[in-house]
């Protein structure tokens, strides 16, 4: 019996998105969005790409936290409820009907145009066969995706890392930061329960070991620097949410992230662009894996620092 599991997952995925279109309450939208992202990650896994699935699952957790923090303040001012009520009022006039019908017609027309140009069923990619046959000799490692990201397509990785640095800098400059408000403000007066604090003491080492495992084994199995860095960044989130500590040096972490980014640009220049990894695979097969592991560790460190700064900016500082 052949169960069409991918089709079922994709249909649930579409249903979740349609639900998001028609819900008005902000908390419901965010929770449905979390479900949507997890179903998407599951379908990525069915489609044979565990790396992307891990990245999507980790990213969806972070994005949900950011949105919930954002919405909490939105309700605190009392304005959110008014906006929701304004949205729920249905006025039947020519303007409101046109406001729904025109986008619908536009989307349906574009959909019809897109259906005429679906990709061919027998699309043969020459690059796929080339990469699958040669990646182990050119770059090394066992995971084709990791060796493409860090070997053949290392320019893309550099610019992606640059974009993350730029977004962290932009968030730090744009976000609201008033020094007068920030003098020893704790999250709340109530301490967290003893159960939570004790359990976090047990679980936090496991989280760090898991992240380190994903980073160190990125070139052999699914995983890599980005996913492991996100797993390590959750440790800091747990530390903040459970112990309510707000005294970490954010400026130093930002400086460290920039320094690590400089190292990320230097390492491929020395290893890949000069062709060291290409020759190393023929002389000593293990030396090329050294490059992959070093690159994964640097990227993981950078991503952990970046998301640490983003989380503290959003939750600890932007909150008040």
């Amino acid at each position: 019996m052949n169960i069409p599991i991918t089709e079922i997952a994709l249909s649930l995925w579409v249903v979740c998105a349609v639900l998001i279109v028609f819900t008005k309450k902000m908390y419901r939208i965010i929770i449905t969005f979390g479900v949507f992202s997890l179903i998407g990650a599951l379908s990525y896994l069915f489609l044979g790409s565990p790396d992307v699935a891990m990245a999507e699952a980790a990213v969806s957790a972070f994005v949900t936290i950011f949105f919930i923090v954002c919405i909490e303040r939105y309700y605190k001012f009392g304005m959110g409820l008014e906006d929701e009520q304004a949205e729920e009022k249905v006025k039947f006039s020519a303007k409101s009907v046109g406001r729904i019908l025109a986008p619908t017609g536009f989307c349906v027309g574009l959909f019809w145009l897109a259906m005429q140009h679906l990709p061919m069923d027998d699309a043969v990619t020459v690059l796929r066969d080339q990469y699958l046959a040669r990646f182990m000799y050119d770059v090394g490692g066992m995971n084709a995706v990791a060796s493409i990201v860090l070997g053949y397509r290392v320019y893309d990785t550099l610019f992606e890392a640059l974009l993350l640095v730029v977004s962290v800098v932009a968030v730090a400059h744009v976000s609201w930061y008033d020094k007068a408000e920030m003098i020893d403000r704790r999250h709340s007066e109530i301490k967290n329960s003893g159960v939570a604090r004790f359990t976090m003491r047990v679980v936090c080492p496991i989280i760090i070991i898991f992240g380190a495992y994903i980073i160190a084994n990125g070139h052999l199995t699914a995983g890599g620097g980005f996913q492991g860095g996100l797993a390590i960044a959750t440790f800091f989130i747990c530390r903040y949410l459970v112990y309510d500590i707000n005294d970490l040096p954010i400026a130093k972490v930002m400086r460290m992230e920039k320094l690590v980014f400089v190292n990320i640009t230097i390492l491929p220049v020395l290893a890949v662009f000069t062709g060291v990894t290409y020759f190393a695979t023929y002389i000593l097969p293990l030396t090329s894996d050294v490059y992959l592991v070093a690159m994964n560790i640097l990227i993981g460190f950078k991503v952990a620092c970046g998301f640490f700064v983003l989380f503290y900016r959003f939750v600890a500082i932007e909150r008040w």
Partner: protein, 105 residues
């Protein structure tokens, strides 16, 4: 033989999950009732299902991974439910029965 036993255990886990979902869908029940039922899906259903998987695969590396995930689930899932219930209680949520009792006083 081992395969049938594992199927039976996994089916039991699915039955637990089914009853949990039926409990969530109950209308006119308050928040704490539904939270209790959700906790049942998270812990009891998943534990039974994972034990079934471990029995199916015998003693291997895969079973070791399953047991590791099971231990983490056992630690974390009750904690999550505890945190949600605690924050609801601290935030001033009062269930309907409790409200009626307070009115009677």
């Amino acid at each position: 033989m081992l395969e049938y036993i594992s199927f039976a255990i996994m089916g039991l886990g699915l039955i637990f999950m089914f009853f949990g979902i039926v409990g969530i869908m109950q209308p006119n029940k308050d928040f704490y009732y539904r939270l209790l039922v959700t906790c049942k899906i998270d812990t009891v259903g998943i534990i039974t299902f994972f034990i079934g998987l471990a029995v199916r695969h015998g003693i291997s590396f895969f079973t070791g991974k399953i047991v590791l995930i099971l231990i983490i689930m056992l630690i974390l899932n009750p904690l999550v439910t505890h945190m949600v219930a605690r924050s609801a209680y601290r935030g001033g949520y009062v269930s309907k029965d409790e409200l009626e009792k307070r009115k009677l006083r």
